[in-house]
Protein backbone atom coordinates (compact mmCIF):
# COMPACT_ATOMS: atom_id res chain seq x y z
CA UNK A 1 0.00 0.00 0.00
CA UNK A 2 2.88 2.33 -0.75
CA UNK A 3 2.66 4.25 -4.00
CA UNK A 4 6.16 4.75 -5.44
CA UNK A 5 7.61 7.73 -7.27
CA UNK A 6 6.86 8.04 -10.96
CA UNK A 7 3.44 6.40 -11.05
CA UNK A 8 1.26 9.34 -10.11
CA UNK A 9 1.03 12.46 -12.27
CA UNK A 10 1.80 15.83 -10.65
CA UNK A 11 -1.93 16.63 -10.77
CA UNK A 12 -2.37 13.95 -8.09
CA UNK A 13 0.75 14.02 -5.94
CA UNK A 14 0.93 17.83 -5.56
CA UNK A 15 -2.62 18.08 -4.10
CA UNK A 16 -1.74 15.02 -2.02
CA UNK A 17 1.13 16.94 -0.41
CA UNK A 18 -1.08 20.02 0.04
CA UNK A 19 -4.00 18.22 1.70
CA UNK A 20 -1.84 16.02 3.93
CA UNK A 21 0.30 19.03 4.94
CA UNK A 22 -2.78 21.04 5.87
CA UNK A 23 -4.26 18.11 7.77
CA UNK A 24 -1.01 17.50 9.62
CA UNK A 25 -0.84 21.19 10.61
CA UNK A 26 -4.39 21.14 11.99
CA UNK A 27 -3.62 17.86 13.73
CA UNK A 28 -0.54 19.25 15.47
CA UNK A 29 -2.54 22.26 16.60
CA UNK A 30 -5.15 19.91 18.07
CA UNK A 31 -2.40 18.05 19.92
CA UNK A 32 -1.03 21.32 21.26
CA UNK A 33 -4.46 22.35 22.54
CA UNK A 34 -4.77 19.10 24.51
CA UNK A 35 -1.87 20.28 26.66
CA UNK A 36 1.47 18.66 27.58
CA UNK A 37 2.40 16.85 24.36
CA UNK A 38 5.21 15.09 26.22
CA UNK A 39 2.64 12.98 28.05
CA UNK A 40 1.52 11.10 24.93
CA UNK A 41 4.84 11.25 23.10
CA UNK A 42 6.36 8.00 24.49
CA UNK A 43 3.36 5.96 23.34
CA UNK A 44 3.33 7.70 19.93
CA UNK A 45 7.07 7.19 19.49
CA UNK A 46 6.95 3.48 20.34
CA UNK A 47 3.97 2.86 18.05
CA UNK A 48 5.76 4.75 15.24
CA UNK A 49 8.60 2.25 15.58
CA UNK A 50 6.12 -0.64 15.48
CA UNK A 51 4.39 0.83 12.42
CA UNK A 52 7.74 1.34 10.66
CA UNK A 53 8.90 -2.23 11.32
CA UNK A 54 5.54 -3.88 10.56
CA UNK A 55 5.29 -2.15 7.18
CA UNK A 56 8.82 -3.13 6.24
CA UNK A 57 8.34 -6.89 6.49
CA UNK A 58 6.99 -8.05 3.13
CA UNK A 59 5.30 -11.39 2.55
CA UNK A 60 5.25 -12.35 -1.15
CA UNK A 61 1.70 -12.80 -2.43
CA UNK A 62 1.47 -12.71 -6.25
CA UNK A 63 1.41 -10.39 -8.09
CA UNK A 64 3.22 -8.29 -5.48
CA UNK A 65 3.65 -8.61 -1.72
CA UNK A 66 1.63 -7.98 1.41
CA UNK A 67 2.73 -6.41 4.67
CA UNK A 68 1.05 -5.44 7.92
CA UNK A 69 -0.32 -1.88 7.97
CA UNK A 70 -1.41 -1.41 11.64
CA UNK A 71 -2.92 1.98 10.80
CA UNK A 72 -6.17 0.90 12.50
CA UNK A 73 -4.29 0.05 15.71
CA UNK A 74 -2.54 3.44 15.62
CA UNK A 75 -5.88 5.20 15.08
CA UNK A 76 -7.35 3.46 18.14
CA UNK A 77 -4.40 3.90 20.50
CA UNK A 78 -3.06 7.28 19.42
CA UNK A 79 -6.08 9.37 18.41
CA UNK A 80 -4.73 12.66 17.00
CA UNK A 81 -1.14 11.38 17.35
CA UNK A 82 -1.84 8.72 14.71
CA UNK A 83 -1.29 11.07 11.78
CA UNK A 84 2.18 12.32 12.85
CA UNK A 85 3.17 8.74 13.70
CA UNK A 86 2.06 7.48 10.27
CA UNK A 87 3.83 10.39 8.54
CA UNK A 88 7.15 9.68 10.26
CA UNK A 89 6.80 5.94 9.71
CA UNK A 90 6.07 6.31 5.98
CA UNK A 91 8.94 8.77 5.54
CA UNK A 92 11.40 6.38 7.21
CA UNK A 93 10.14 3.45 5.12
CA UNK A 94 10.59 5.47 1.91
CA UNK A 95 14.12 6.58 2.82
CA UNK A 96 15.33 3.25 4.18
CA UNK A 97 13.66 0.60 2.05
CA UNK A 98 12.26 2.53 -0.90
CA UNK A 99 8.75 1.43 0.12
CA UNK A 100 6.76 4.31 -1.27
CA UNK A 101 8.14 7.43 -2.89
CA UNK A 102 8.89 10.91 -1.65
CA UNK A 103 6.76 12.69 -4.26
CA UNK A 104 3.89 10.32 -3.46
CA UNK A 105 4.39 10.60 0.32
CA UNK A 106 1.49 13.05 0.67
CA UNK A 107 -0.92 10.67 -1.07
CA UNK A 108 0.42 7.73 0.95
CA UNK A 109 -0.18 9.67 4.19
CA UNK A 110 -3.81 10.19 3.15
CA UNK A 111 -4.20 6.52 2.12
CA UNK A 112 -3.03 5.37 5.57
CA UNK A 113 -4.20 8.31 7.67
CA UNK A 114 -7.87 8.60 6.69
CA UNK A 115 -8.69 4.96 7.58
CA UNK A 116 -6.73 5.38 10.84
CA UNK A 117 -8.96 8.33 11.73
CA UNK A 118 -12.07 6.29 10.87
CA UNK A 119 -10.79 3.36 12.93
CA UNK A 120 -10.33 5.62 15.98
CA UNK A 121 -13.86 6.97 15.63
CA UNK A 122 -15.30 3.49 15.20
CA UNK A 123 -13.56 2.25 18.35
CA UNK A 124 -14.81 5.18 20.40
CA UNK A 125 -18.35 4.73 19.01
CA UNK A 126 -18.29 1.10 20.13
CA UNK A 127 -17.36 2.32 23.66
CA UNK A 128 -14.18 0.27 23.64
CA UNK A 129 -15.76 -3.11 22.92
CA UNK A 130 -13.82 -6.12 21.64
CA UNK A 131 -15.89 -6.11 18.44
CA UNK A 132 -15.21 -2.39 17.98
CA UNK A 133 -11.46 -3.00 18.26
CA UNK A 134 -11.67 -5.84 15.71
CA UNK A 135 -13.70 -3.71 13.32
CA UNK A 136 -11.28 -0.79 13.75
CA UNK A 137 -8.32 -2.97 12.72
CA UNK A 138 -10.24 -4.34 9.73
CA UNK A 139 -11.44 -0.87 8.66
CA UNK A 140 -7.86 0.41 8.79
CA UNK A 141 -6.75 -2.15 6.20
CA UNK A 142 -9.97 -2.09 4.15
CA UNK A 143 -10.00 1.70 3.93
CA UNK A 144 -6.34 1.86 2.94
CA UNK A 145 -6.83 -0.77 0.24
CA UNK A 146 -9.88 1.04 -1.16
CA UNK A 147 -8.10 4.41 -1.21
CA UNK A 148 -5.03 2.83 -2.83
CA UNK A 149 -7.26 1.19 -5.43
CA UNK A 150 -9.13 4.42 -6.16
CA UNK A 151 -5.91 6.43 -6.47
CA UNK A 152 -4.32 3.96 -8.90
CA UNK A 153 -7.54 3.85 -10.94
CA UNK A 154 -7.12 7.59 -11.48
CA UNK A 155 -3.78 6.94 -13.20
CA UNK A 156 -3.77 3.56 -14.94
CA UNK A 157 -0.90 4.08 -17.38
CA UNK A 158 -0.76 2.93 -20.99
CA UNK A 159 -2.43 -0.45 -20.57
CA UNK A 160 -5.46 0.16 -18.31
CA UNK A 161 -6.89 -3.34 -18.62
CA UNK A 162 -3.68 -5.06 -17.49
CA UNK A 163 -3.35 -2.60 -14.61
CA UNK A 164 -6.95 -3.16 -13.53
CA UNK A 165 -6.43 -6.93 -13.44
CA UNK A 166 -3.19 -6.64 -11.46
CA UNK A 167 -4.89 -4.22 -9.08
CA UNK A 168 -7.82 -6.57 -8.53
CA UNK A 169 -5.41 -9.40 -7.64
CA UNK A 170 -3.63 -7.09 -5.22
CA UNK A 171 -6.88 -6.09 -3.52
CA UNK A 172 -7.91 -9.76 -3.19
CA UNK A 173 -4.48 -10.60 -1.74
CA UNK A 174 -5.05 -8.00 0.98
CA UNK A 175 -8.50 -9.32 1.98
CA UNK A 176 -7.19 -11.82 4.59
CA UNK A 177 -5.11 -9.01 6.05
CA UNK A 178 -8.33 -7.32 7.21
CA UNK A 179 -9.11 -10.30 9.44
CA UNK A 180 -5.50 -10.59 10.62
CA UNK A 181 -5.23 -6.92 11.58
CA UNK A 182 -8.69 -6.99 13.15
CA UNK A 183 -7.49 -9.86 15.34
CA UNK A 184 -4.19 -8.12 16.16
CA UNK A 185 -5.96 -4.87 17.13
CA UNK A 186 -8.52 -6.68 19.29
CA UNK A 187 -5.74 -8.77 20.86
CA UNK A 188 -3.54 -5.77 21.69
CA UNK A 189 -6.48 -3.81 23.12
CA UNK A 190 -7.55 -6.81 25.21
CA UNK A 191 -4.00 -7.34 26.46
CA UNK A 192 -3.54 -3.67 27.41
CA UNK A 193 -6.91 -3.63 29.18
CA UNK A 194 -5.72 -6.42 31.47
CA UNK A 195 -2.09 -5.33 31.89
CA UNK A 196 -1.98 -1.55 31.60
CA UNK A 197 -5.44 0.00 31.06
CA UNK A 198 -4.09 3.55 31.45
CA UNK A 199 -2.53 3.21 27.98
CA UNK A 200 -5.98 2.88 26.41
CA UNK A 201 -7.76 6.01 25.17
Amino acid sequence: MHLPDGLLPPSLWIPGWGISGLWLGLNLRQIQHRGDPGRDLPRASLLTAVFFLAGSVQVPVPPASVHLLLNGLLGVLLGPWALPAITVGLLLQAITFGHGGLTSLGVNILIMGIPALLAGWLYRLSRGSWLGAFMAGAVGVGGAVLLFWGTVLLSLGDNPEAERQALLLLVLAHSPLMLIEGGITAGVIGFLRRVKPQLLP
Binding site: S65, F97, E163
Partner: protein
Protein backbone atom coordinates in the same frame (compact mmCIF):
# COMPACT_ATOMS: atom_id res chain seq x y z
CA UNK B 1 7.29 -18.91 -81.14
CA UNK B 2 6.66 -20.66 -77.82
CA UNK B 3 10.35 -21.55 -77.55
CA UNK B 4 11.34 -17.92 -77.41
CA UNK B 5 8.29 -16.55 -75.56
CA UNK B 6 8.38 -18.88 -72.54
CA UNK B 7 11.95 -18.09 -71.40
CA UNK B 8 11.24 -14.41 -71.96
CA UNK B 9 8.13 -14.53 -69.75
CA UNK B 10 10.04 -16.38 -67.03
CA UNK B 11 12.84 -13.85 -67.06
CA UNK B 12 10.33 -10.99 -67.04
CA UNK B 13 8.57 -12.54 -64.05
CA UNK B 14 11.78 -12.82 -62.07
CA UNK B 15 12.30 -9.13 -62.50
CA UNK B 16 8.94 -8.22 -60.89
CA UNK B 17 9.42 -8.02 -57.12
CA UNK B 18 5.73 -7.23 -56.53
CA UNK B 19 4.76 -10.76 -57.49
CA UNK B 20 7.64 -12.41 -55.66
CA UNK B 21 7.02 -14.77 -52.72
CA UNK B 22 10.62 -15.09 -51.59
CA UNK B 23 12.04 -13.18 -48.64
CA UNK B 24 15.51 -12.18 -47.76
CA UNK B 25 16.57 -12.32 -44.14
CA UNK B 26 19.61 -10.77 -42.56
CA UNK B 27 20.87 -9.54 -39.25
CA UNK B 28 23.11 -6.96 -37.71
CA UNK B 29 24.20 -6.27 -34.16
CA UNK B 30 23.09 -3.15 -32.37
CA UNK B 31 23.37 -1.93 -28.77
CA UNK B 32 20.15 -2.47 -26.83
CA UNK B 33 19.09 -2.06 -23.22
CA UNK B 34 17.66 -4.88 -21.14
CA UNK B 35 15.48 -3.73 -18.26
CA UNK B 36 14.99 -6.21 -15.41
CA UNK B 37 12.04 -5.62 -13.11
CA UNK B 38 11.71 -7.50 -9.82
CA UNK B 39 9.88 -6.96 -6.57
CA UNK B 40 12.10 -6.54 -3.54
CA UNK B 41 11.12 -10.07 -2.54
CA UNK B 42 13.02 -11.27 -5.64
CA UNK B 43 9.89 -12.19 -7.58
CA UNK B 44 10.03 -11.01 -11.23
CA UNK B 45 7.46 -8.43 -12.35
CA UNK B 46 6.00 -10.60 -15.12
CA UNK B 47 3.75 -8.94 -17.71
CA UNK B 48 4.20 -5.51 -16.12
CA UNK B 49 3.55 -2.32 -18.07
CA UNK B 50 6.67 -0.64 -19.42
CA UNK B 51 6.81 2.93 -20.72
CA UNK B 52 9.98 4.42 -22.18
CA UNK B 53 10.47 8.19 -22.25
CA UNK B 54 13.07 9.77 -24.55
CA UNK B 55 15.29 12.60 -23.28
CA UNK B 56 13.91 14.97 -25.86
CA UNK B 57 10.31 14.80 -24.65
CA UNK B 58 10.05 13.16 -21.22
CA UNK B 59 6.34 13.92 -20.99
CA UNK B 60 5.34 11.71 -23.93
CA UNK B 61 5.77 7.93 -24.11
CA UNK B 62 8.40 7.04 -26.73
CA UNK B 63 7.71 3.31 -26.49
CA UNK B 64 5.25 1.15 -24.56
CA UNK B 65 5.21 -2.57 -23.97
CA UNK B 66 5.28 -5.18 -21.25
CA UNK B 67 7.87 -7.33 -19.56
CA UNK B 68 8.21 -11.04 -20.31
CA UNK B 69 7.60 -13.81 -17.80
CA UNK B 70 10.99 -13.14 -16.20
CA UNK B 71 10.34 -9.42 -15.79
CA UNK B 72 12.65 -8.42 -18.68
CA UNK B 73 12.13 -5.85 -21.41
CA UNK B 74 14.43 -4.84 -24.26
CA UNK B 75 14.58 -1.66 -26.28
CA UNK B 76 17.06 0.17 -28.47
CA UNK B 77 17.31 3.90 -27.75
CA UNK B 78 17.27 6.27 -30.70
CA UNK B 79 20.94 7.17 -31.31
CA UNK B 80 19.85 10.66 -32.32
CA UNK B 81 18.45 11.33 -28.83
CA UNK B 82 21.29 11.36 -26.33
CA UNK B 83 20.70 12.03 -22.65
CA UNK B 84 18.72 10.54 -19.80
CA UNK B 85 16.26 7.90 -21.00
CA UNK B 86 13.60 7.05 -18.46
CA UNK B 87 11.86 3.70 -18.11
CA UNK B 88 8.76 3.30 -15.98
CA UNK B 89 7.63 -0.18 -14.95
CA UNK B 90 4.33 -0.60 -13.13
CA UNK B 91 1.98 -3.36 -12.07
CA UNK B 92 -1.00 -3.06 -9.78
CA UNK B 93 0.07 0.27 -8.31
CA UNK B 94 3.62 -0.95 -7.70
CA UNK B 95 6.66 -0.12 -9.77
CA UNK B 96 9.28 2.50 -10.24
CA UNK B 97 11.24 4.72 -12.56
CA UNK B 98 14.70 3.99 -13.95
CA UNK B 99 16.99 6.61 -15.51
CA UNK B 100 19.54 5.39 -18.06
CA UNK B 101 22.16 7.85 -19.33
CA UNK B 102 22.88 7.29 -23.03
CA UNK B 103 25.86 9.11 -24.49
CA UNK B 104 28.34 8.69 -27.34
CA UNK B 105 31.74 7.15 -26.66
CA UNK B 106 34.81 9.38 -26.70
CA UNK B 107 35.76 10.10 -30.30
CA UNK B 108 38.13 7.59 -31.79
CA UNK B 109 41.39 9.22 -32.83
CA UNK B 110 41.74 6.95 -35.85
CA UNK B 111 38.12 7.35 -36.78
CA UNK B 112 38.17 4.31 -39.04
CA UNK B 113 35.90 1.92 -37.15
CA UNK B 114 32.40 2.35 -38.55
CA UNK B 115 31.28 -1.02 -37.08
CA UNK B 116 31.90 0.16 -33.50
CA UNK B 117 28.78 0.78 -31.32
CA UNK B 118 27.64 4.35 -31.62
CA UNK B 119 26.16 4.59 -28.12
CA UNK B 120 27.67 4.46 -24.66
CA UNK B 121 25.30 2.89 -22.14
CA UNK B 122 26.28 1.96 -18.55
CA UNK B 123 26.50 -1.79 -18.01
CA UNK B 124 24.27 -1.66 -14.93
CA UNK B 125 22.31 0.87 -12.86
CA UNK B 126 24.10 2.67 -9.99
CA UNK B 127 24.51 0.42 -6.97
CA UNK B 128 21.79 0.81 -4.36
CA UNK B 129 22.22 0.51 -0.62
CA UNK B 130 23.30 -2.92 0.58
CA UNK B 131 20.83 -4.94 2.68
CA UNK B 132 23.14 -4.65 5.70
CA UNK B 133 23.26 -0.88 5.37
CA UNK B 134 19.48 -0.76 5.15
CA UNK B 135 19.23 -2.99 8.21
CA UNK B 136 21.62 -0.71 10.08
CA UNK B 137 19.57 2.34 9.10
CA UNK B 138 16.34 0.64 10.21
CA UNK B 139 17.91 -0.31 13.56
CA UNK B 140 19.07 3.30 14.01
CA UNK B 141 15.58 4.65 13.36
CA UNK B 142 14.03 2.19 15.79
CA UNK B 143 16.64 2.98 18.43
CA UNK B 144 15.96 6.70 17.93
CA UNK B 145 12.21 6.23 18.33
CA UNK B 146 12.59 4.00 21.39
CA UNK B 147 15.11 6.44 22.86
CA UNK B 148 12.67 9.31 22.33
CA UNK B 149 9.95 7.31 24.09
CA UNK B 150 12.24 6.49 27.02
CA UNK B 151 13.42 10.08 27.34
CA UNK B 152 9.94 11.53 27.54
CA UNK B 153 8.68 8.70 29.73
CA UNK B 154 11.46 9.40 32.24
CA UNK B 155 10.68 13.12 32.13
CA UNK B 156 7.03 12.39 32.81
CA UNK B 157 7.79 10.24 35.84
CA UNK B 158 10.57 12.40 37.27
CA UNK B 159 9.79 13.79 40.73
CA UNK B 160 8.89 17.46 40.64
Amino acid sequence: MMRTLLPSLLLWGLGMPVWAHGVELGFSTTPAIEVQARYDTGQPMAKAQVTVFAPGDPGVAWLTGQTDGEGRFWFRPDPAQLGAWQVRVRQGGHGGMLTIPVTTPAEDVMGDEPEAPDLKIPASPPASLSPWLRLGMAASWVWGLVGTALFFARKTHAPS
